[in-house]
């Protein structure tokens, strides 16, 4: 019994990072309608900066968080307006640019990771921060993972309140439903979509900094994080902040239970099993219609 509770608690805490990871991407795709394949690469960039600041200047990652989040916001805002909006202008509408935007996102991903590769190569980055065991409901979890969960809940809650409870949120959701139609309703699509994209960028950078605290990474691993985030995004429903949170936590708990009570070898298989299940139910329309 205690071990079940323990597996549940640690699973939830470890799921926090998945939730955080997916939250940024789900907002970016859900609202800005851009499948940001460079997500993982931007994440790695934040992680690399946090590591370098920590190793070279002994700057706490929590402090670099304050530096990197606004920086990431600005960069994403710039990327959105200088790259994707320009493409949209050329194509005439969001729908017309879908295939091109994927190509562009590939390019962006290559540019971000390529620039880092040219500087750092495949070098491994790893350091420990906030590796303090914390007692939580009778289980022990590392503080850095707990922080990830807290941030996920905070960002997720913020996104939810913003999207569902405010007029701006209504406007943003209108964009999500119909980017080409929204201007007719007097919504400045580019402005709001850009801000949401950049907000996703903030979450992306936050995930990066947190991941750098407890995970070994190198530049070519960006795509792994994109993939992981996508899996959670699909499970939670694209553009659905709460869905991403729940799916992330479910993933954490699943991994924890499978590793503990079945076999550690099957953790990823279980995760992808859930993923397939999510896609299959989606087909019958539980989430399907809202996500068109």
């Amino acid at each position: 019994m205690t071990s079940i509770l323990d597996a549940l608690v640690t699973g939830l805490v470890y799921g926090g990072i998945y939730a955080l990871l997916a939250l940024g991407l789900t907002l970016q795709y859900g609202v800005a309608r851009i499948l940001n394949l460079a997500y993982g690469d931007f994440l790695i960039a934040a992680a690399v900066f946090a590591t370098l600041l920590y190793q070279r200047f002994q700057l706490s990652p929590l402090v670099s968080l304050l530096l990197l989040l606004p920086a990431s916001f600005l960069i994403h805002l710039l990327v959105y307006h200088l790259v994707f909006v320009q493409l949209e202008r050329r194509r005439g509408s969001w729908r017309a640019m879908e295939a091109s935007s994927i190509l562009l996102a590939f390019g962006l991903s290559f540019v971000v990771s390529g620039a880092m590769l040219a500087i750092f190569g495949g070098k491994l980055f790893s350091y420990s921060y906030l590796l303090v065991p914390v007692q939580l409901l009778g289980s022990v979890v590392p503080a850095n993972r707990l922080l990830a969960l807290v941030l996920a809940l905070a960002f997720g809650g913020f996104a939810y309140l913003l999207l569902v409870r405010t007029r701006i949120g209504t406007a943003i959701r209108a964009i999500a439903v119909d980017p080409d139609g929204a201007p007719l309703a007097g919504i400045d699509v580019r402005r709001w979509a850009g801000l949401t994209f950049a907000f996703g960028g903030i979450i992306c950078a936050a995930s990066g900094v947190l991941i750098s605290m407890f995970q070994t990474f190198n530049v070519p691993m960006g795509v792994t994080f994109t993939l992981k985030a996508l899996v959670v995004v699909i499970m939670g429903g694209v553009g659905n902040a709460v869905g991403a949170l729940v799916a992330g936590l479910i993933l954490g708990v699943t991994e924890s239970f499978v590793a503990r009570f079945i076999s550690p070898g099957l953790t990823l298989a279980a995760v992808y099993g859930l993923f397939v299940l999510a896609v299959l139910t989606m087909r019958t329309g539980i989430f399907g219609r809202a996500l068109r």
């Binding site: 590769l117 495949g122 491994l124 022990v140 979890v141 530049v219 924890s256 590793a259 503990r260 298989a269």
Partner: protein, 442 residues
């Protein structure tokens, strides 16, 4: 309609050239560090981009009287993709360092003169197809005299038939596999300098038996392994040997490649109170396992992780907490020339080499060089024969291959006072094991 086709072709050519031009310009502007010259470049100019070397290279003492000739040495290595990490730590810097060392010392003396080494490099993008293409390019277009191997078992195997067919010796380092003894029958120019996987597993079991016989530990072992080729080979051989030597496996589970959460596994293992924890792990896991162990306060007398334990980043990350952790590899600082190598490596490449594959890689290059000098000319078949049969003085001691494999490596080491000292084989040990391992400091 003919015109239409011609126009299309012209359009294509135009696009291709425009994009090539744009690419060239784009590359020029965006490269953050002074971009390496398009290869081929002569080796001394070839710096790994991250950090410009600060140390002045020792000026060559011998001034060759006759005009130098160049020995073109080519290689394709993973500079991007998943294999870039391993290649960037163990292999690539050693190629650069070796070429510089050789040239600083005056070059390679062959019967018809002294040759300086010129390195020609390509990125195989962690793709076997690209690796094969790059090797063909090196041989057919660049007409290189010698080839150096890529990183990783998969890449080495992908290019092995090409090396063989073209008659180039392949002095593989990061191509550890239990299958090597079989493969060399097919490819007589295929070598492996890190040995075989089971050699390492058996060393683990032997070391643990030795400790058990001394009464330092009991006979309960917890074994985990990454579900990938090397992890599985390693664990399989270890399992057999543990059973044969009377150890009890209290835990024996694989975990998927890319696992980041080891807390559930270690929580479970901790309850079984093993005397030794053996993880057939890859670098990312190796660097994460101690964290999970600290969180759940799991501190067995022997804590042994596999690949990556010997990386400088390990001690950089864990500092004091690395103390007492065992892993694959290890060095003996008293070995002649070895510490000098470490110093030079750091000066030239700007990075600290690992304590396992790096010195072996450098040694393999020394073997190649000595074999070439003994043969006296670029006769690749003869060089291969010499490598297979000769014995060579290197930074890791005297190297003599058996069946194209070098079995004499330091197999296991332990972090002691910030150095990864060799523990096994016992006759080459640089230190006695610290067992039980000190408690994790928080």
């Amino acid at each position: 309609m003919q015109r239409y086709t011609r126009r299309a072709v012209l359009g294509l050519i135009g696009t291709a050239s425009i994009s090539a031009l744009l690419a060239a310009c784009g590359g020029g502007q965006a490269t953050p560090t002074p971009a390496p010259q398009p290869s081929p470049t002569s080796a001394p100019a070839q710096q790994p981009s991250p950090t410009p070397t600060t140390a002045a290279a020792p000026t060559p003492t011998v001034v060759a009287t006759q005009p130098k000739k160049t020995l073109r040495v080519g290689f394709a290595i993973s500079k991007s993709g998943p294999y870039a990490a391993g290649a960037g730590i163990t292999i690539y810097p050693n190629y650069v360092l070796w070429a510089k060392d050789v040239n600083d010392a005056g070059g390679i003396k062959l019967s018809d003169g002294v040759y300086t080494v010129e390195l020609i490099e390509y990125d195989d993008q962690s793709s076997p197809e690209e690796a094969i293409k790059a090797i063909q390019r090196l041989v057919n277009q660049d007409k290189v005299d010698l080839l150096l191997p890529p990183w990783g078992t998969a890449m080495n195997l992908a290019v092995a038939p090409v090396f063989h067919q073209l008659g180039y010796p392949q002095l593989g380092v990061a191509n550890l596999s239990d299958k090597t003894p079989e493969l060399v029958k097919q490819w007589p120019g295929y070598f492996s300098f890190l040995g075989t996987s089971s050699q390492y597993s058996e060393a683990v079991a032997d070391l643990l038996s030795d400790l058990a016989n001394q009464g330092k530990i009991g006979k309960k072992v917890a074994l985990i392994y990454v579900d990938d080729a090397f992890g599985l080979e390693l664990s399989e051989a270890a399992r057999k040997k543990f059973k044969a030597t009377g150890f009890e496996l209290v835990y024996d589970q694989g975990y998927p490649l890319g696992t980041t959460d080891f807390q559930p596994i270690l929580t479970d293992i901790k309850q079984r109170q093993p005397d030794a924890f053996v993880a057939c792990s890859y670098p990312a896991d190796t660097l994460t396992l101690p964290e999970a162990a600290m969180v759940v306060d799991f501190n067995p007398p022997v804590f042994l992780t596999a690949v990556g334990t010997a990386f400088p980043v390990y001690v950089g990350k864990f500092g004091q907490n690395a103390e007492g952790v065992m892993g694959l590899g290890g060095i003996d600082p008293k070995a002649p020339g070895l510490m000098d190598y470490y110093k030079r490596h750091k000066e030239v490449t700007g990075q600290d080499p690992d304590r396992w594959g790096s010195p072996v890689c450098y040694a393999s290059l020394q073997v190649l060089q000595q074999a070439l000098e003994r043969v006296g000319k670029v006769d690749r078949q003869a060089v291969a024969r010499e490598v297979a049969t000769g014995s060579f003085q290197t930074i890791i001691g005297t190297v003599k291959l058996e069946g194209n494999i070098y079995y004499g490596n330091w197999l296991l080491g332990q972090w002691q006072n910030g150095e990864f000292l060799a523990l096994w084989p016992k006759n080459k040990a640089a230190a006695t094991p610290i067992v039980p391992k000190p408690a994790w400091k928080k």
